[in-house]
């Protein structure tokens, strides 16, 4: 793995980064209460330059940012308990909507692939689903109080209006809109981690999830539909999620983030031991008992904890990371691994 660029500018911890859908703008946020937008400056897709600093949106740390699928809107979640929506309509990003409702720190925000829904989660243990009609009005569609502790992260299914969450209560949960009742429900609870689940991500098809935890393991989960060919029981004719692989023994501290590349199938992790690791499914892997190999172990990727790792959605093998050390780094994975 090769370091392409180091982006400096944030003061203090950088909590999160997010690529826009075209993969040519990276948004970042952190302890300094600013959002920075790093734009592709030339034909070289990986010479990013700081073009925009968004301030005055939040009173406290900005924990996460997320782009709408159209790339016109950016949502930011803050410890100040609000979510801000930034609109590019006028050429500049302006904050014109503030979503209030969570009781305390909002930790994650994500747009559904359809663009119709926004999910947020908080230390108040709830996941909120916001519905946007004409992308200007945001209405609360559901308040989901299924977790028993802080909800750390929400992520949407790559094709469907299904959201998955990770929590301090050691579980993952899957939420979806029940068609008959027209109501959002918790469809599954995924138990196996022994401590806080910090992050999770779907694979390209949405049939698998990968999660990372304070228990220093990564787990891969497989969805089994009713009447699946493997004979896995599906009570009440509902799909079930099973942990099919635990990747242990590589990470030496809390794993803060995980990203499953939808183009290359590589899984990247960001760890509190300052390292970035990449895992690849073995060629002869069995779908029901897959095996993953570590193909990159970059032990001092940052000088402090790595908080986020995120694959570029367009350019293969390009990874962004950010850290407590105040820096954002852009990496390129070697061709022979892809």
């Amino acid at each position: 793995m090769e370091l392409l660029q180091t982006l400096k500018g944030h003061v203090g911890r950088v909590w999160h980064v997010s690529w826009n859908p075209e993969g040519n703008v990276l948004a970042s946020c952190g302890e300094d209460k600013t959002i920075r937008l790093w734009w592709q400056e030339s034909n070289d897709p990986f010479a990013l330059g700081l073009k925009t600093i968004l301030t005055d949106g939040h009173q406290r740390t900005i924990r996460s940012v997320g782009w709408s699928p159209c790339g016109q809107y950016l949502a930011s979640a803050s410890f100040d308990s609000t979510v801000a929506i930034w609109n590019k309509k006028s050429g500049q990003f302006e904050c014109d909507v503030s979503l209030e409702g969570h009781e305390n720190e909002v930790k994650s925000v994500a747009w559904s692939k359809s663009g119709q829904y926004l999910a947020t989660c908080s230390r108040d243990k709830s996941v909120w689903i916001w519905e946007t009609s004409d992308e200007e009005e945001y209405e609360c569609a559901a308040v989901l109080n299924a977790h028993s502790q802080d909800v750390k992260k929400v992520v949407w299914h790559p094709h469907m209006d299904v959201v998955a969450s990770a929590s301090y209560d050691n579980t993952l949960k899957i939420f979806q809109c029940d068609v008959t009742e027209c109501e959002w429900i918790c469809a599954s609870t995924l138990r196996s981690h022994e401590s806080t689940v910090w992050s999770l991500d779907f694979d390209a098809l949405g049939k698998r999830l990968v999660s990372c935890s304070d228990d220093q393991t990564v787990k891969v989960w497989q969805q089994y539909e009713p009447n699946n060919e493997f004979g896995i029981a599906t009570p009440d004719n509902e799909a079930v999620w099973k942990c099919v692989c635990t990747i242990a023994g590589y990470h030496t501290r809390t794993i803060h983030d995980i990203s499953w590349c939808h183009q290359t199938d590589l899984i990247a992790t960001g760890c509190a031991d300052d390292g970035i690791r990449i895992f690849k499914e073995a060629d002869n892997s069995n779908i029901n008992e897959p095996t993953f190999q570590q193909v990159v172990n970059y032990s001092s990727a940052h000088s402090q904890d790595v908080n986020t790792v995120l694959w570029n959605p367009v350019h293969r093998g390009i990874l962004a990371s950010c850290s407590d050390d105040g820096e954002i780094k852009i990496w390129k994975v070697k061709e022979n691994i892809l």
Binding site: R13, R60, R123, Y168, T196, D214, A272, S303, D324, D325
Partner: protein
């Protein structure tokens, strides 16, 4: 912070303070590589005041040199602290004060863990989990009321 009408532990056992660290000639010599040791970490936290008593963590044996581990190669510092009673409701605040003081004092390369000494508190696992969660700690430190209480514990001589 409000003074509790009834103290949880009215008669804590008091221990003497240890003497100051002796300074050797090497300490003054810039050409000698000087690694951090347990005693130096102890000196950073021994003066922290118990939230309930006008006494230091050292005097109450909440922190002791023998409960501190430091690894200069792996850049790890681990501090065990022992609440005076196993149902002490202040244990989380004491742990947070120790963690904040070390975050402020030690170089950023150190990974700091603050944990309750094994079998010294009823909610040991809960307290350790909260203290290890840096997102919760970061959010707590943005709470002006809480940071004032912590500063009162860390720097009693400054805040009165």
């Amino acid at each position: 912070m409000e003074i509790l009408s009834s103290l949880e532990n009215q008669n804590p056992t008091l221990y003497g303070k240890c003497c100051d660290r002796s300074v050797s000639a090497d300490d003054e010599d810039d050409s000698v590589a000087d690694l951090f040791d347990e005693r130096e970490v102890f000196d950073l936290i021994r003066h922290i005041r118990d939230p309930e008593h006008p006494l230091s963590l050292e005097e109450l044996h909440v922190v002791e040199v023998k409960g501190i581990m430091i690894d200069n190669v792996k850049n790890e510092v681990k501090v065990n602290f022992t609440p005076t009673i196993p149902h002490c409701s202040m244990a989380l605040l004491i742990g947070l004060s120790i963690r904040v003081q070390l975050l402020r004092s030690l170089p950023a390369r150190f990974k700091v863990s603050v944990v309750v000494s094994p079998n010294s508190h009823r909610s040991e696992a809960d307290i350790n989990k909260q203290l290890a969660d840096k997102e919760r700690v970061a959010a707590a430190l943005e709470n002006v009321n809480l940071i004032k209480v912590i500063n009162d514990c860390i720097m009693p001589e400054l805040t009165g």
